[in-house]
Subunit: 332 residues, 2 copies
Amino acid sequence: MDGGNDTREQAYAADIASIRQAQLRIEPYIHRTPVLSSENLNKLSKKKLFFKSECFQKGGAFKMRGACNAIFSLDDDRAARGVLTHSSGNHAAALALAAKLRGIPAYIIIPNNAPQCKVENVKRHGGQVIPCEPTMQSRELVAGRVQEETGAVLVHPYNDRHIISGQGTVALELLDQVPEIDTIIVPISGGGLISGVALAAKAINPSIRILAAEPSGADDVAQSKAAGEIITLAEVNTIADGLRSTLGSLTWPVVRDLVDDVITVEDEEIVEAMRLCYEILKVAVEPSGAIGLAAVLSDKFRTSPAWESSHNIGIVLSGGNLDLSVLWESLR
Amino acid sequence: MDGGNDTREQAYAADIASIRQAQLRIEPYIHRTPVLSSENLNKLSKKKLFFKSECFQKGGAFKMRGACNAIFSLDDDRAARGVLTHSSGNHAAALALAAKLRGIPAYIIIPNNAPQCKVENVKRHGGQVIPCEPTMQSRELVAGRVQEETGAVLVHPYNDRHIISGQGTVALELLDQVPEIDTIIVPISGGGLISGVALAAKAINPSIRILAAEPSGADDVAQSKAAGEIITLAEVNTIADGLRSTLGSLTWPVVRDLVDDVITVEDEEIVEAMRLCYEILKVAVEPSGAIGLAAVLSDKFRTSPAWESSHNIGIVLSGGNLDLSVLWESLR
């Protein structure tokens, strides 16, 4: 499952040393987020649950960890030319924020059909928004042009060693806060977060189980694990807008080797988990952020091999960026 | 404002010793809640803000502290007969939950026009709901009957020494977590929370400023402070359903002497503060819980005598129990 095979470990994009380095590097810039628990949710799940609440991270999601590690790893000369990414989500906002902390420009390429609230979010964090057509071709064309003009460093949202190491600091903190954890459930999309978490956690304690939580409408990871190779879906359909990416060349080997199982859940289960997060935990999560709770409460988990031996379960509430206008309108 | 005047201190319903006792007594039953901060909100307020997040307290509000202190102070004989209160809000749920922890009955008298979600909340926490007509007369009649039949101890939501001492533990924790705090803003209704906080904080550091945050549609405390006596309003009108009570005989002297100022805010300011809590802090608060943030962002505060010398401000996010059905309906 993991373990003493050094050759293999060294083949991964990150390891416990690079994750510990990341922790030292990013410590001044991020929040050590609290771990929450609830007896009601323990009762409901029949397990002890520990919610690592990355919603409270700067920028509202764990993405700030990887972004800071990537940006503060650059030498001064490279950094001065700025950073670049194409994403309209939490990675874009985090990269903009981390760049601001280092005092360098962040160029964020966003398709011109992206929701205005996402564009505003990137701008609010100091990012320079550069619009492109909503096609892969236009995106790459624009990215190429910006790189040529500025010399900015492209920071991929997940298929990047520094990003993976940065996200792995979630597990270092969690296992420091709750050493008795035997299972960690992590939302999966491109696999940056779960790769970092798996590499850190299994290095600390190889018997820790790592489970991925994935929407059934975007279950490319479950399919990839079953097929033994990266599967890309023609179409995805899920409320969890943060979980629509596909695995990358650096994340796939970790997911293949170190993720013990994938639990797929329906969108209705995600919304119900969100409700429990807001109404019981009092944490404002986005759909992608609530999927770990959905997984632990699912029939899929109860009938899985992991059920019996999972007692103290860490759940990463990965982010909380969500448009709640409907709520404010109803209150006004 | 407070201080070395022992006679006066002894006249209050609680003191630093009773609050420290409460802390020891309730520690096994409550959460030590995290303190959150946000650079965005610091920038917006031009202050350093520290959010003591009692939304994450068991039962979803600070009320669990007082309820546990009251219930675990009872000797076994008295406790065995159970406890009683008339409230449909957070105190009722907390009392039910604390009673369950001690294994004793909790009788909760609720007017038959109370929202069903509040009734369910009390039941979920193990309380025995006893309906009454929605009049003061019926409530007291029913309470008298239940006390006669059961011998249960009436635990008032705020006008009770043990409740005040229990709520004061919020300040002990907060000042331990963030010793540099110079000002604490506390929502005010019956005054139990702010009395405990003021007595604890001023005993630890007499120069700490205590500000009450009150809805302008239920500004009986501002009026009482101005008049020098308890004023009761004929009518209250605010979205903050937890802030509609009036001061009691035990809380008024503390509020009169130790609360430095009252900041009244409009309901629109409360909703805007809620929005910031959800969207920036990612904490699900109820209107009463968000009023401290509304106060710190208000023009009233910016033009108040406290503005200049308040730098590190503790804000108690008092609770997070709110019906969010409109949100779930929109997502489904």
